[in-house]
Symmetry: C2
Amino acid sequence: MANIKDVAKKAGVSISTVSRVLNNRGYIGKETRRKVEKAMAEINYSPNQIARALQKSQSYILGMIVPDSNHPFFSELIKHVEVFANEQNYKVVICNSLDQPDKEANYINMLRENRVDGIIMCSHTLDVEEYKSVLFPIVTFDRILSNQVPYVASDNYRGGEIATEHLIQAGCKRLLHISGPLKLDLLANRRADAFRLTCMRHHLHHDIIEGTNDNLTFEYFRHFIANEVADRLQSYDGVFCSNDMVAYALYLYAAANGINVPERLKIVGYDYHSFTRMLKTPRLTTISQSAKRLGKVLSSTIIHVIEKKDEDTINNTIVDVELVKGETT
Amino acid sequence: MANIKDVAKKAGVSISTVSRVLNNRGYIGKETRRKVEKAMAEINYSPNQIARALQKSQSYILGMIVPDSNHPFFSELIKHVEVFANEQNYKVVICNSLDQPDKEANYINMLRENRVDGIIMCSHTLDVEEYKSVLFPIVTFDRILSNQVPYVASDNYRGGEIATEHLIQAGCKRLLHISGPLKLDLLANRRADAFRLTCMRHHLHHDIIEGTNDNLTFEYFRHFIANEVADRLQSYDGVFCSNDMVAYALYLYAAANGINVPERLKIVGYDYHSFTRMLKTPRLTTISQSAKRLGKVLSSTIIHVIEKKDEDTINNTIVDVELVKGETT
């Protein structure tokens, strides 16, 4: 493979001149720059970014750990993180923790050993304590690790409030929330807090059935509805589900068991990710959190931390949500 | 950050002993290895993989270029490529070409400059000629670049044949295929070849409407059905769609326009990716190509090429397909 010496020889200039062009340092005349660039193109020279990364101790690689890159929400988040990072000249290494704590820990080590510049952490199976040894830039999605680590989340509390108010305005009197796992201190749990407080404010009967996060597949959610929710469903006329896959699984159960939606049972989801936007049979009523905005903010925040641009402005970010009215309420 | 000298000092051994442990070279006593590993853990040392990559001229990074990492098929393919690559100690950098030739070309350059070990190429907007300058390991999904570059594909011909035979067995007499763009020489076009030949074998009236690949979004497919297919739909009683998003878009159009599916119009798709597996309203009849098997083969093939394990065994791979009977036929 061609090296910098070959470029210098081809262009008829010194090695240090080529180096100045490559690093955009010092004065280089227009004509000289043109000659060097032409020589690089002709002998198919590409600067070795690994060597430059080692020299500059920056790799321009971001690690992104997600539970499952095929989940419609994370898939969409990855796309927007990558597209934005690419505009800033960063690359994104994707890691699937598959919600296994040992895989998550291994990925953190692997990314550290490979000197990624920072990690976008969207998988949350480890205890907060275990992230304390991660001494390089990190930003989390939907979880507070410490006040040193910025987080990005949608306005989960507001989302839970809007969803619950919508069910109440639609006439529901006995409300159920199917939440994610509440034992992990995730910001998504604020959806459950808002549900509870909104019901209390309206003096309405309400319950929460807590899910697990062992498995984010649709098949799991269908089993969960059949095994953990079905027997108790007759007690409720409105259900706020903590994600759209649960909401669709609940809709399918209701449809298969003669429970009319929305007449007898109203359903609101959360996400409005690519699956929900495609699904038209039925269109789900849901809370939209924008993966595009979240992905862009995750990218820009981690790059901000890495490049230490004005540390005072590195903030946590809460992205707005909104109700999307479909056919299930 | 701790370095190899600190480890040697802490363990009370020489630097070359630590190096031998790290590289697993030469004889090291059990007790010595234990001491070194303990020292590494205590001072939180992690070997700098970038420096080692430079030394070994291998980065253990794979590039994977896809049109859209949020498309349900590519999203699933990425997951399985990543999970398998990780087991082999490789990392995966994801690149979204968004079907723009200049973005695709930029990514190839970027990956080359970063000395990735190889590229899994799933985006195909450039002419075959333009890949000729890519001199490092590459494997393609669904496209033949040259007889030097291995490809992986599902059995597109067989898929098209099974889909068409299924429509004919179900009684269809006037058949339509909605294909992808036929001008690019993609292996997916064999679905159209098989459709045509199967119809001819049965002496049945048939047509093909060709799609574009400017845009793989569901909204685009809905517009495409409304603008390019709707007016001609009354002439057909069976449609084989080259992907499940088109099939669902066609189903929605039919349902909204009083065309009963499957009584009046039968629809078969292609993919059976995560979106289709979740969709139960209706369950689409489709051809299943396993993203899990394709992803695993793409990973293992590129690693095979990179590590030059027995070059004679580096083959193109065709993965079996099967019909999944749903409610649209």
